[in-house]
Symmetry: C2
């Protein structure tokens, strides 16, 4: 039950029912395929939402920074992968974490491996991040010279254990529809399987691991993989619906924003909800750049997005919401409207500090 | 003096010398024109940076939310304007602030005026926000029926005092060069002057007030205005240099980011510094979307941006920095590079929580 009467400032509503359903759906698919789901917690950065994963059986988690790792270690998580190129300037933090939890990191260069091999005092498992075509970062999947040099440099220390290969298949974010996502997903899986086949004889037990929400959402199974590490699926967002990862009713979070002005000549509502709440992430729909989609807030959740309405611009605190005549007439100054975020990870990161968070069921 | 040896995570460097010079330059121009500078503190949201303004003579400040107003009231500021359409859902916060500081707010509708007139218990001054063509929000400058209805509704209470007209001349952000900025700036000033001439006889002492950094930076004087409220000029940023508001050596803040990977085949450096540090705000330079420009960090500041280099993409924590061969060869994994932000207000908002802040001189 949700009563908008208590909303005074931009407030991120988190729908526990929807989120738990998203968590259980992915866990069920992973269990059926016999792969370990190691969910990415960068999406929510929340001890409470983390506890919903624990309820669903999650034992190990993924994060994108050592500060998040430290935060979740403080909330009882003891098997944490930092899915970001190891930063040798944070060696002290790596050492401190490794002393208290099972820590897994990513290493992409022989220099980093050599540095860590030299300073670590507790065991750390490492994955070599692989670039299968997204070109954000990672070792090219066919660069065996570089892979070999990382493994050799790491093996100089008894503290670094080779855990396997990981890739973030970000190319799935650039396509639309299940078939296109699966084409990319299958190609990436095959490259990882080939790497495992090549390196497993010398490194028994090494694992292959993938991370993107679109691929993990639409794949029927995860046969052949050892681990999956999606994160966004707990909330989903407008971007994921456009890609084809989910439907609108699977989106687990919405920004409740007070309406502070109406401009009838432009059919625009001005909301208290700007770039410091939603983030400046945008998507293109029908040739228009949009920063969020409005929904009506209901007692037990929220409606589907209103057809033909969208956030057209964000300032620091203002959101400019383009609406139809019908929506314009329905809302007055002082009402609260919901905004589905374009990118829930970024919105959540901001809303931890700028505004309020409310869990609804 | 600055030693990059202490940088482990993304760290926002604030150059006190440059910022104080920016603060004093604008104060000097305002003093010469006999207008009151009421700087916008949303850019820095910092008690320390605020104290530099106090040193330069600032007595009254502008903010963009009641929570910022509450923050700065707690740091001894007692004349605060909230430059955002008054949100009637926050009436209790407005009342609490009005009880302790000189509070000025923006009212854009008769409904909001009537609501506040009904609930206020301490005096509040209000400006009518005017839309002179930017179309973000505000009463159209020629809509005298609406202006009249706001004034009438507000006058039902002895607590609301009509202070004048304000406009944010955001159109100056869409042009390039001094002449284009000044064309817009002059047109807006004339519209405000006409409003003052029309309403001053019935409301003696009402003031006209403008807010944008581009216009206030390039205008030689502020003759005719009563107040200016720019904010970004304390730091400036890449966007302001492109508009023509400043030179690169006037930029007062830079993100110091550790390099965590190098990709020679693409001449790209991967930095620990992503959308949760810089924000996803972007600008277009030579047809390319960019999210920041790299500089070398020096003992007493930083260099000019490296020609032909730019952040091409941001993930949550990753920044992908496209560089020239020369820059690529100069940096190794574990080094720290500086990134000039596209939009310093958004970067500052994020860096209050995600990473560190360091003041350098």
């Amino acid at each position: 039950m949700f009563d908008s009467g208590s909303i005074a400032v931009p407030t991120l509503l988190i729908n526990e029912t929807v989120c738990r359903s998203n968590i259980e759906f992915m866990q069920g698919k992973a269990d059926k395929s016999g792969v370990q789901l190691i969910p990415h917690f960068k999406t929510h950065q929340s001890a409470v939402v983390g506890s919903w994963f624990r309820d669903a059986g999650t034992k190990a988690i993924t994060v994108s920074s050592l500060s998040m790792a430290t935060f979740f270690a403080g909330h009882g998580w003891d098997d944490i992968t930092v899915a970001f190129p190891a930063n040798i300037r944070e060696s002290d933090t790596i050492k401190a974490l490794a002393a208290s939890v099972r820590l897994r990191i990513f290493i992409l260069s022989a220099e980093t491996a050599a540095h860590l091999a030299n300073v670590l005092t507790h065991p750390v498992e490492y994955y070599i991040e692989i670039d299968t075509g997204y070109h954000r970062t990672g070792v090219p999947y066919d660069d065996h010279m570089l892979i070999g040099s990382v493994i050799r440099a790491a093996s100089e220390s008894g503290m670094l254990k080779f855990a396997g290969f990981y890739t973030h298949d970000g190319n799935t974010y650039d396509v639309r529809g299940r078939d296109a996502i699966m084409n990319i997903h299958r190609g990436t899986r095959e490259k990882l399987e080939a790497l495992r086949a090549k390196y497993a004889p010398a490194h028994p037990g090494l694992r292959i691991s993938m991370g993107d929400t679109p691929g993990c959402s639409v794949a029927g199974d995860f046969a052949g993989l050892d681990e999956i590490r999606p994160g966004n699926y707990v909330y989903y967002d407008v971007t994921q619906t456009l890609i084809g990862s989910c439907n609108y009713d699977q989106i687990g979070t919405v920004l409740a924003a007070p309406i502070v002005a109406r401009h009838e000549e432009r059919l625009e509502l001005v909301i208290y909800g700007g770039g410091v709440h939603l983030s400046k992430d945008s998507v293109t729909i029908n040739g228009k750049t949009i920063y969020g989609l409005p929904v009506d807030l209901l007692k037990n959740g929220w409606s589907a997005p209103a057809e033909g309405c969208y956030i057209r611009k964000l300032s620091q605190e203002h959101g400019i919401l383009k609406v139809t005549r019908a929506v314009f007439d329905r809302y007055k100054v002082g009402d609260v409207i919901g905004i589905l975020p374009v990118h829930s990870c970024m919105t959540m990161d901001l809303m931890r500090f700028n505004g309020s968070i409310m869990i609804v069921t």
